[in-house]
Amino acid sequence: MTTILKIAYLLSNEFKLEWRGKAAINSILLYIVSITYILHVSFNNVEANLWNALFWIVITFSSVNAVAKSFMGMSEGNRLYYYSIIGPEVFFVSKIIYNFLLLFVLAIITKVAMMIFVEDIPIKSDLFWLSVLLGCIGYSFIMTMISAIAAKAKSGSSLMAILSFPIIIPMLMFLLDVSIKGILGSSISETSQDLLVMSGLNLLIFSAGYLLFPYLWRD
């Protein structure tokens, strides 16, 4: 099987598993809606800067929960099976793509929820969605890698939060900067410098994770 076919097969597997046991995604959706309701109760008048910051905070915390279950469901025999038949790199890439799609869907749902509950801030440029896309890619890289590390440990999801937050912070700094520009109306060409830096950071994290993942999976 070629690599693309393997990745497509693994992705379809993940979607089927998710569809059968909907508990995980329902819990994340409930989490997002609950947080946005708390925001609705707490804030009266939300301007663009604050809305942007709250949006990214909700996405950050829900992404930690969403990706935490990535590597936890499998038994030892299952893992060894996948490792020998498919190989660790392909497995890792398929997890990353699945988590990215999941996070992007969650980001859209968060945007809709915040539009309903908090404030309907008009988004003036495509730059906002481009930053959401790049942010979800970056979050997926980081969270998948950290979830692989934390899956072996006993403490579970609290360890994942501790490990991921320092690495998330620089990405979050850039995302906040670029997405507020997107909401307020800058075009993509004006912020190309920041976007390049963000893409560079994504690429760096992905290459580090890609090289290191097989070592994590040798067990």
Partner: protein, 238 residues
């Protein structure tokens, strides 16, 4: 590879080198402290007399960087061929590096308070170094959450490599992109003859060397202590 290094480290030549190394470190520190407290500092725009802080602020960070580089190299060596001593050494390098980084951060805060009025100026390098410290503190937390030593060592070696790459990006690449108070970043010129003339340069350069040597010395002592403790506990004397 390891048997060769074992022979080197057990030899008499290495122990005489270590003695010279420690004497040189002490000599450098006597020089830095003596000359550093008494020299005439030039008055530089904005910084004025607080340029004196460069003698201890920058070398502390350089010491931390060097220790984390050593931890990175040892993590790669551990992944290639696992040995429990390397794992202990990585842990001690990160511990001592964190202490040096904390001191560098505190001295930076002190410098900023006297020069610019606030403890944490809105500077990208300050934020990036805080994030680096958090990443390595998370490394220490990661080590505590594993029971089995081999698994702990392997996974923490992987995380160490990851966090060193992140540190390189955060401290060296990122500040050049954004505006910054630090020299060499964000549109400021690098350290040049405008900032430091002949009076401060020899003190600064020997301080860089001295603090790095001190960091290695402290990490070495801690490593030997922890290794002996481990050997006594597990009765591993060969």
């Amino acid at each position: 590879m390891y048997s060769f290094l074992d022979q080197v480290f057990a030899s008499k030549g290495w122990s005489t080198f270590l003695v010279f190394f420690r004497i040189i470190t002490i000599a450098i520190f006597v020089y830095i402290v003596g000359k550093g407290l008494t020299f005439d500092a030039p008055n530089i725009p904005i910084l004025e007399q607080s340029i004196r802080a460069v003698i201890y602020h920058v070398p502390l960070w350089i010491g931390m960087n060097f220790l984390f580089l050593a931890a990175f190299a040892m993590s790669i060596a551990y992944l290639i061929k696992p040995r429990w001593e390397i794992d202990l050494a990585i842990k001690e390098c990160v511990n001592v590096g964190l202490v040096f980084g904390l001191l560098g951060f505190l001295t930076g805060m002190q410098w900023a308070a006297t020069t610019w009025g606030s403890f944490l100026p809105p500077d990208i390098k300050v934020k990036a170094s805080a994030i680096t410290m958090l990443i390595y503190l998370a490394y220490v937390v990661l080590r505590t959450s594993f029971g089995e030593p081999a698994q702990k060592a392997k996974i923490s070696a992987v995380y160490n490599i990851f966090s060193f790459v992140a540190m390189l990006y955060l401290i060296w690449v990122l500040p050049r992109q954004a505006e910054s108070l630090h020299p060499g970043n964000g549109g400021n010129p690098l350290f040049s003859s405008n900032d430091m003339d002949g009076t401060i340069k020899p003190i600064f350069r020997s301080a860089l060397l001295g603090y790095t040597f001190l960091a290695c010395w402290i990490a070495n002592v801690r490593y030997r202590l922890v290794k002996l403790d481990h050997q006594i506990k597990d009765k591993l004397f060969s």
